[in-house]
Symmetry: C2
Subunit: 379 residues, 2 copies
């Protein structure tokens, strides 16, 4: 029997508790950390973290609070106290992955993070399994359900960005402050974590990042006339000696699987040298799917940790020049090196992701409505 | 160190040997069973199975021979001798799954079958992981790369079935006798195995099965005019008290992910009650991807077998009436209950999969070119 304490009782935390209670007979949920005054939510609820941690029978701490603090302090304390840690908190993991993994290795406990990326999709475990045999040359994916829902709805209903966003906010699909989703910050955390797993590197570099805040329905129609649609991608590549990661809107051909991912679903792809291209598709958010990933990790904590599985020891240089694409800028600004693509849109070929950001930043000062997307290379 | 013997040195077997030799340091490939006279292929090659099995240091037997006999006898002997068995042979597993699992449980060894279904895709492991938490209500998938390649090429190049098939045979994508692929026999084995894993039942029933032998480019154009394309699916459903499985061509809407699976790729979907819809996409065949799945299973044999993981104990009735669809018949035959769909094609609504086969069999006696497809329900 594995004894588990849960930190946080929001949408994901409550689903974790329900799944453990109703379905998992060899896990015992002993306590739930809530804010002071909220102890009535469950007989096991407490607002005293120290009391939770001092329970010598406790095996595993499950953090579903989100945010950087006190999640960071609690995870660190739990690892030092030799408890397994399972977390769904991408922000704190992407910021402190190396420190957490070092502490987990020193303590001989598990640190499990499946729910941080792509919700219920077994993406982290999938990459780890591929890496038992293969080197990974690339990964990419639709890793944010909110932005996929926005683009999907804009296309389906012919509505514009702001209208869909406010509807998504009403439905609870998007935050009141949507910048984490629509500017790519959420995808950046997930991409950094994915790169760490895929390439065995600490990915703390300044990633080229842009989002879909300025995407209009006219933009979608323009790309549509080229048999393309827009998806916000997190991407990583490695050539064995260096690696790069980027977060950006990509114009994908309608023949691509990614073009047909509906509503708030996610799909993520990894390429290994013997397995080839492998895709994982599913619910990237939501209480039950995310909680499912958390509970899968809890179940796996019954096994001893795999020694040094993630030791970030790969000797890879970060080289942003590895990402070179053709970029479309829909803007009234003058784009150096740009050629006509469509009325109001210019094409620049063979730009590095970093250089594209420089052009975008400059264009935005002249035309704050500028939208930029990379053109997916067609096979 | 795990000591492994390999039975069979064809495309998959040779890839398994290469991957083990070059990449997996804690597995020792000690011997390779080949046909008498072929011992020169590798210093470890032998034609003597009994000598292989009598090696008391041997941990795992890997069967990549294909076919029913002697694969059946060798697997049985290996399990009785308390060796783990890993196999890529869907035919022998679908025919003898219960007996093999019983022998493995009695011997306390692993029986691993990932490579039997969808090549390199972690589909079997994926279903097993979902089942740790969820009940599975449905699965479906494109599980045969050859037929996907045929339909993909017909659409892409505007060629007809026979032409694409003979090109696929030239390229080695299709067998000289293509009936296992195009009549659904290969998919039937994979669907039966998937159902056994998903629903924990022995699936030995006579499955409703039909293939794409009679599919023409005019048929594809007809379905295309309804924004649909044709894919050969293996499918299973369960409502908690009964289950059904079927192999058939399905007319899927162009909005579906499945419609955009290219060349010889596979995609398979499982639906669980908390995880929702989960899809796995990748190379469904080929030496390296299939060998990758075999090697993943070999690596997992280092762990002790999970007791009773597949004990086929679910108390589910087989009820073919669970599958009810609308069916299109392109035929000159008279279809009882059929109404006009397109010139030369009739629609019959709300047919069970079994009843549809009865109508198809009867229609084929009048018009041997008859093609039948189920219409995918749109969301």
């Amino acid at each position: 029997m594995q004894n588990v304490a849960l930190l946080g009782f929001g949408t994901v935390g409550a689903s974790v508790a329900r799944i453990l209670d109703e379905r998992i007979s060899d896990v015992n949920l002993t306590s739930i950390l809530v804010r002071a005054g909220k102890e009535h939510v469950d007989p096991r609820a407490t607002s005293n973290f120290d009391a939770i941690l001092s329970d010598s029978a406790l095996d595993t701490v499950v953090e579903c609070m989100g945010g950087l603090s006190p999640a960071y302090e609690y995870i660190k304390a739990a690892l030092i106290a030799k408890k397994n840690v399972v977390t769904s908190n991408k922000a704190v993991v992407s910021a402190h992955f190396e420190e957490f993994m070092t502490l987990a290795a020193e303590a001989g406990v598990n640190l499990k993070i499946e729910a941080c990326v792509c919700g219920g999709i077994p993406w982290i475990a999938g990459i780890q399994k591929v890496r038992r045999i293969d080197e990974i040359s690339a990964f990419w994916g639709i890793m944010n359900g909110t932005t996929n829902y926005i683009v999907y709805s804009m296309l389906k209903d012919g509505t514009d960005f702001a209208e869909v966003l406010s509807k998504a906010q009403e439905l609870g699909y998007a935050e009141r402050d949507p910048s984490s989703d629509i500017d790519g910050i959420d995808v950046r955390s997930k991409t950094m974590i994915s790169a760490s797993i895929a390439f065995d590197v600490i990915c703390t570099n300044q990633i080229p990042m842009s989002g879909i805040r300025n995407l209009t329905k006219r933009d979608l129609a323009m790309f549509g006339s080229h048999d393309m649609t827009i998806k916000l991608f997190g991407r990583g590549v490695s050539n064995g000696s260096s690696y790069a990661v980027v977060v950006e809107p990509v114009a994908v051909p309608l023949s691509a699987i990614e073009a047909h991912v509906p509503t708030n679903f996610n799909v993520a792809t990894v390429v290994g040298d013997t397995i080839g291209e492998l895709k994982f598709y599913g619910q990237g958010a939501g209480g039950n799917p995310t909680a499912n990933a958390v509970v899968q990790d809890i179940i796996d904590c019954a096994d001893a940790p795999i020694e040094g599985q993630q030791n970030f020891s790969a000797n890879l240089l970060y080289n942003p020049e590895l990402f070179v694409s053709d970029y479309v800028f829909r803007t009234q600004a003058d784009i150096p090196g740009g050629s006509f693509w469509e009325p109001g849109a210019q094409l620049v070929k063979n730009l590095s992701a970093e250089k594209a950001r420089e052009l975008l930043t400059s264009a935005l000062t002249q035309d704050p409505t500028t939208f930029m997307a990379a053109l997916e290379k067609r096979n």
